[in-house]
């Protein structure tokens, strides 16, 4: 009886729907694009990333010299010139060609490891957040265990077990990317699953699979995309760090971190050999970070241009 009193009809005043001109329909995509376009730094960073990807894909046809097996013995340690744009290393190899070929390794390592981490982490986060209960507890405890290791220590531990090489580095970086994605998606899922549209979907008899995939997952994409682009920078640095300390790509592979490690021995005589791999890592990671910042500002509804 009491309940009925509370269920008094509220003022049935429906706000008039503003008329929308057909040409200016606002979809999430156009909204995103409208906000993203204003961030000039991020747009430039995005173009730079696109250029890098094209260069990396075309590297085998673009390089002026063979990155591993061409030795110019007449110009060892040469400084940058028209013939060798970035100079020559102490073994006579063309640094520009090596940097260009190295971009394939670094971009692949960064992208693949984060992609694997994001896919596995997102799936785990969706399951944990949607079902809660014991599956949530198990998944979150696994994440806690992974979180207990400081990033690169876990990667070194994995490399110590699996052995060195760039493939194992990618696996190691992917594994430590998983828990952050899982937590992020779980948090979003917990917030989304009590919203009206999810309840509505459940009330018309949608299966768990449909609710999770069609209704909850799209709501988590924005956060995952932002984190994805910010994470690629970190992963490129981690992969290069592992190669630098001799656990990733091995010489003569033109991996940027491995190149820097080789250059260390000749820092006194030819510092330019170390300069270009450093700049390559810096510019690539910077571009991904600026792009990620721009995506975050465009996708996060909390941040409004003031």
């Amino acid at each position: 009886m009491n309940e009925q009193a509370e269920l008094q009809p509220v003022d049935a005043e429906i706000p008039a729907v503003p008329e929308v001109a057909a040409a200016a329909v606002r979809t999430p995509w156009t909204e995103f694009w409208r906000k993203f376009r204003k961030q000039h730094v991020a747009v430039v960073a995005g173009l730079f990333v696109a250029l890098l990807v094209v260069l990396a894909l075309g590297a085998p046809w673009l390089v002026p010299y063979d990155a591993e097996n061409f030795f110019d013995y007449d110009s060892l340690n040469a400084l940058p010139s028209l013939k060798h744009w970035f100079g020559v290393d102490p073994l006579g190899r063309d640094i520009f060609s090596r940097i260009l070929m190295g971009s394939r390794i670094s971009l692949t390592a960064g992208f693949v490891s984060v992609a694997v981490g994001a896919v596995v982490g997102t799936a785990m986060g969706l399951v944990a957040g949607y079902y809660e209960g014991w599956s949530d507890r198990i998944i979150m405890r696994i994440c806690d265990v992974l979180f207990a290791f400081p990033g690169i220590v876990l990667a070194i531990g994995i490399v110590a077990i699996l052995g060195g090489g760039i493939g194992n580095v990618i696996i190691a970086v992917a594994i430590f990317s998983i828990p952050t994605f899982a937590r992020l998606v779980r948090g979003n899922t917990l917030a989304l699953k009590h919203l009206t549209f999810v309840e509505a979907a459940r009330s018309i008899g949608a299966s768990d699979w449909t609710i999770v995939v069609r209704h909850i997952f799209p709501g988590t994409i924005a956060a995952v995309v932002v984190y994805f682009s910010l994470r690629i920078g970190t992963s490129i640095i981690t992969a290069a760090s592992l190669s630098f300390i001799g656990m990733g790509a091995q010489p003569p592979t033109p991996e940027w971190g491995a190149m820097l490690n080789e250059a260390r021995a000749d820092m006194m005589t030819s510092p330019h050999v170390a300069l270009f791999p450093s700049l390559a890592i810096f510019c690539t990671v910077l571009a991904f970070n600026l792009l990620g910042d721009g995506l975050r500002d465009a996708l996060d509804p909390k941040i409004e241009q003031k």
Binding site: A148, F149, P150, G151, I152, V153, L154, I156, G157, V159, A160, G233, I237, A240, S241, F244, I245, G246, M247, G257, L260, A263, R264, M267, M268, P271, A274, P277, S278, I281, F282, V285, L286, N289, L290, D293
Partner: protein
């Protein structure tokens, strides 16, 4: 292992605990000094950027910060060493004997953390400056410095302290790379050497120790959290 016995190193045949004990303090001091300066500088830059948001201090601060998180530690270490040790002869290159040896490795290790702290403090502070209690403080005529320091900074600190705990893990991991660059006699280089030599007892003990340290630091941070924020009381 649960008895505190980690066995003997396969390489030197000495007990693992002894090997690690003599390497512990250099790494400990390196991470602590890096943490101290990077948190101080990072929070300072973050606060200044938030207060002068979208003006030149913000632009300079945030450009520095995004560069800081994008520059790999090993490249920065090599660059600093080249400039200050090799070219200018101001500071020693390798080893860990005097305080002068700490300057470059500590700068290298802390740079990324300072950058992350600056970005994080800024965003946390910008949120705080929109809160009602900040408007109230301004409305009752408090000088702007009091508003910023007393009402702003204290509240902005809460998420920043959590971030500090997480960053400590980053520092512990980063110390491995920095120790290789500066030939630092610490646990990080011991770990790298152990992996090279497949010295599994040492690897196992070190990975455990690094994680233990990280978990302990986060425990301390959780306690600190309750001290700073009176609304949180663990039952």
């Amino acid at each position: 292992m649960l008895h505190g016995d980690f066995g003997r190193s396969l390489r030197t045949k000495r007990p693992v605990s002894g090997e690690i004990a003599e390497r512990f303090m250099p790494t400990f001091w390196l991470t602590v000094t890096s943490m101290a300066w990077s948190v101080a500088i990072g929070m300072l830059i973050g606060t200044l950027s938030a207060v002068w948001r979208n003006r030149w201090p913000d632009r300079v601060g945030m450009t520095l910060a995004v560069s800081g998180i994008s520059f790999p530690a090993f490249a920065l270490g090599m660059l600093l060493m080249q400039i200050f040790s090799v070219q200018l002869h101001w500071l020693p290159t390798v080893g860990a004997d005097t305080w002068r040896h700490y300057i470059l490795p500590s700068l290298t290790l802390g740079a990324a953390v300072a950058a992350i702290m600056a970005r994080f403090t800024r965003s946390s502070f910008v949120d705080i400056l929109h809160e009602d209690y900040v408007r109230t403080a301004r409305a009752k005529g408090l000088p702007e410095t009091v508003v910023i320091v007393k009402h702003g900074l204290r509240n902005a600190l809460i998420p920043v302290v959590t971030m500090m705990g997480l960053q400590f893990g980053f520092l512990l991991g980063g110390s491995i790379v920095v120790e290789v660059v500066f030939n630092w006699p610490g646990m990080g280089r011991l770990l790298v050497d152990a992996v090279d030599m497949r010295d599994y007892p040492v690897i196992q003990a070190l990975v455990l120790l690094f994680s233990l340290e990280f978990v302990l630091i986060n425990l301390i941070v959780d306690v600190l959290y309750a001290v700073i924020n009176p609304t949180i009381r663990y039952r």
